[in-house]
C-alpha cells in the first residue's frame, strides 16, 4: 500500500537558484523500512523535510510536482494533523530538545501534552518509551545538562511516544556510542514490525544493509540508485561516486580483485561469515 508518493518533485529553497531536489519520482510503501544514504548536501535532509510536510508548510521556496501523503496532496494536509501522522527526528539533537522543560520526563511528555492526550495514557506512554530506550536514570535530569548522545536518546524517546504511523528519522545515531547505536536500530526494527513506515537517513551503511528493505542513494538532489540493499550495495560504482558501502561488500570486492571471489557480493557480516565458513570447511576437507 502506498504511504508517500513523490511524482516528479523538484524543490528550490527560498533565494536559492540551485535545485535542492530534482525530478524525484518515488513511492514509499506502508510498513517498509527505507534507508536513505549518500554524501552530505545530496538532498537527504531536504527529502525528509518534504515528506514530513515542512516543505511547503514551514519552508517556502519553489515546489513543483506532487507529494501525496496517503493519497492526499501535502499542500492540502493541515500542518498540525500531519505532525500526528508523521514523526520527525531531527539530525541535530541539540535542535530537537525544546529547552522549555526542566526534566527529561516532561520533555518526553511535551508532544503528548500538546496533543491533549489524557494524563493516565500520557504517563503510560512515557514510561514505556523510557524503558524501551533505557533512559530510566535520566528522567529527572534537566535536558539541557545531558551529553550529546543522551540528548539524542531523549529526542528519539519524545518522538516514539507520539506513536506516529510514519517515522522520518535523520541520522539518529550520529552522536551515539556503538552499543546505543545497535539498540536504536533494534528499536527501529521493532517499530517496523509494528507496521510503521520508516524513512531513515544514515551514514552507517553496515546497519542499513542489515535492516532496511529498500535503499535510496541520493546524489545532487536526485535519487541516483534505489533497490534492495543487495542490489544497491553490490554495485561497485558507488565507491567511485563517494558513497560508502558496507565492510562486507568491500571485503567481497577485495577478494574478487585478487581472484578469490565469494559466490556473490556479500553485503552483511552474516553473509560474509557463511561464505568464509564454506571456504574454510573446503580447505579443512570436511566440505
Amino acid at each position: 500500500m502506498k504511504g508517500i508518493e513523490l511524482k516528479n518533485v523538484s524543490y528550490q529553497y527560498p533565494l536559492s537558484e540551485a535545485f535542492a531536489l530534482k525530478n524525484i519520482h518515488y513511492t514509499f510503501e506502508k510498513g517498509k523500512f527505507y534507508g536513505i544514504i549518500g554524501p552530505n548536501s545530496a538532498g537527504k535532509t531536504t527529502l525528509c523535510n518534504l515528506v514530513r510536510g515542512l516543505i511547503p508548510h514551514f519552508y517556502e521556496g519553489e515546489l513543483s510536482g506532487d507529494v501525496l501523503i496517503e493519497g492526499k496532496d501535502v499542500r492540502e494536509w493541515d500542518g498540525s494533523l500531519l505532525s500526528t501522522k508523521i514523526g520527525y527526528i531531527f539530525q541535530n539533537p541539540f535542535t530537537q530538545i525544546s529547552g522549555v522543560k526542566d526534566t527529561v520526563l516532561e520533555e518526553i511528555a511535551l508532544g503528548l501534552e500538546n496533543l491533549g492526550i489524557d494524563k493516565e495514557e500520557m504517563i503510560e506512554r512515557v514510561i514505556n518509551v523510557v524503558k524501551l530506550l533505557k533512559i530510566e536514570d535520566l528522567i529527572k535530569k534537566n535536558p539541557n545538562n545531558l551529553s550529546g548522545g543522551q540528548r539524542q536518546r531523549v529526542a528519539f524517546a519524545s518522538i516514539i511516544a507520539m506513536d506516529n504511523d510514519i517515522l522520518v528519522i535523520d541520522e539518529p545515531t550520529s552522536q551515539l556510542d556503538p552499543e546505543s547505536t545497535a539498540d536504536i536500530f533494534e528499536i527501529i526494527n521493532m517499530l517496523k514490525s509494528q507496521g510503521k513506515t520508516i524513512l531513515l537517513v544514515e551514514h552507517k551503511v553496515d546497519l542499513i544493509a542489515e535492516y532496511s528493505d529498500e535503499v535510496l542513494v541520493m546524489e545532487n538532489g536526485h535519487i541516483a540508485y534505489s533497490g534492495t540493499p543487495s542490489d544497491v550495495f553490490s554495485n561497485i560504482e558507488l565507491i567511485d561516486r563517494g558513497v560508502a558501502i558496507p565492510q562486507a561488500a568491500l571485503l567481497s570486492h577485495d577478494l574478487q580483485r585478487q581472484n578469490k571471489p565469494f559466490d556473490f557480493i556479500t553485503i552483511t557480516n552474516e553473509q560474509a561469515k557463511q561464505q568464509i565458513m564454506k571456504r574454510m570447511s573446503c580447505v579443512n576437507g570436511s566440505y
Binding site: 549518500g38 554524501p39 552530505n40 548536501s41 535532509t45 539530525q91 541535530n92 541539540f94 545531558l146 551529553s147 550529546g148 548522545g149 543522551q150 536518546r153 541520522e171 550520529s174 552522536q175 551515539l176 556510542d177 556503538p178 552499543e179 546505543s180 547505536t181 545497535a182 551514514h203 553496515d206 563517494g242 558513497v243 560508502a244 558496507p246 565492510q247 562486507a248 568491500l250 571485503l251 577485495d254 577478494l255 585478487q258 578469490k260 557480516n269 560474509a272 561469515k273 568464509i276 565458513m277 571456504r279 574454510m280 573446503c282 580447505v283
Partner: protein
C-alpha cells in the same frame, strides 16, 4: 613527563556531580590518541581538562609541565586547541572567514600572518567555497569543519577533536584522515573522541577507553578491540571486520580488512 599529563584527576561540576574520577594519562608530543567509550562516560569532560576549560577538583593536569591550575584557560588554549563537539557551541561570527580570523585578531597577529594561517586552515579543511557565507547557512557537517579550521588557525601544538566523525560522509571522513596525517607530520599531538570504530582502527595506534567516569584501558587499537571485557564495559564494538573475525573464531586479532583479506588469500 608527557606533553599532556593528567595525574589522579577527579573533576566534579559545581553542583557536586562527579564526571571524571581518578584519571591518569600521559600523551606525548606528536602522538595520536583516540578516546572511545559510552555516552556519558566523561570523555568530553576529560578533554576539557586538557585545555583548561575544566580545572581538576582533585589531582593535577600539566601541559608542557605547566599546572593548569596556575594558568588561565586563555593561556592554556594557546597550547591546546579544542574543537567543540557541537559546532554551534563554538561558532558565533556571522561570516565563516571572520570566525576563523577571530582568535588570530585577538592574538594581535599582523595581517600577513592572519592571511597565511587562514589560508592554511581553509585548505586543510576544504571549506574554500563557504568563506563568505554565514556559518548557519551551511550544512552541519561543513559547520564542523569550520569549527575545526578556526582552531587549526591558532596553530597550537596539541589539538583535540570532539566527535569530528559525527554526521560525516565518506569524503568528510577522508578529509579528517588527511588532516590528521598533516598535523602528525608537523609533529602535533591529535586527541580525538569518536564513536566510529572503523575510523579508530584505520587511523589510531593508541586508544583510550572510558567507562563510568574512568579510564578503563589504554593501549593499541588491536589490544583494546580484542579485550572482551573492555569492549563490553565501554559499550564500544569491534570494527565490522573484527566482529566478523571474532564470529568466525579466528584467533589472529584481526581489526583491518586488509588483514582478513590476506589471511583468506593465504590460507583459504
Amino acid at each position: 613527563m608527557g606533553a599532556i599529563e593528567l595525574k589522579n584527576v577527579t573533576f566534579a561540576y559545581p553542583n557536586g556531580f562527579i564526571a571524571n574520577e581518578n584519571l591518569t594519562l600521559s600523551i606525548n608530543s606528536g602522538e595520536r590518541v583516540a578516546i572511545v567509550g559510552q555516552n556519558g562516560a566523561g570523555k568530553t569532560t576529560a578533554v576539557k581538562l586538557m585545555n583548561g576549560l575544566n580545572k581538576p577538583t582533585k589531582g593535577n593536569v600539566f601541559i608542557n609541565g605547566m599546572n593548569t591550575k596556575d594558568k588561565t584557560t586563555a593561556q592554556i588554549s594557546s597550547y591546546v586547541g579544542y574543537v567543540f563537539q557541537n559546532p554551534d557551541d563554538q561558532i558565533f561570527n556571522s561570516n565563516v572567514k571572520k570566525e576563523i580570523e577571530y582568535m588570530l585578531r585577538y592574538l594581535k597577529l599582523d595581517e600577513k600572518e592572519i592571511e597565511r594561517r587562514v589560508g592554511r586552515a581553509v585548505e586543510l579543511t576544504g571549506i574554500q567555497d563557504f568563506l563568505h557565507m554565514n556559518p548557519y547557512d551551511v550544512p552541519y557537517s561543513t559547520r564542523k569543519f569550520i569549527s575545526i579550521a578556526a582552531i587549526l588557525a591558532i596553530e597550537t601544538p596539541y589539538i583535540i577533536l570532539d566527535e569530528p566523525t559525527a554526521g560525516q560522509d565518506m569524503s568528510g571522513i577522508k578529509a579528517l584522515t588527511t588532516l590528521m596525517n598533516v598535523l602528525q607530520d608537523e609533529g602535533k599531538s591529535v586527541i580525538t573522541i569518536t564513536h566510529d570504530m572503523e575510523f579508530v582502527s584505520d587511523n589510531f595506534s593508541r586508544v583510550v577507553a572510558m567507562a563510568n567516569k574512568q579510564i578503563i584501558a589504554d593501549g593499541t587499537a588491536r589490544k583494546i578491540f580484542w579485550n572482551h571485557d573492555v569492549v563490553k564495559q565501554a559499550k564500544i564494538k569491534k570494527p565490522q571486520i573484527g566482529e566478523l573475525a571474532s564470529d568466525l573464531g579466528l584467533s589472529e586479532d584481526i581489526i583491518l580488512r586488509k588483514e582478513l583479506v590476506d589471511l583468506l588469500i593465504n590460507k583459504y
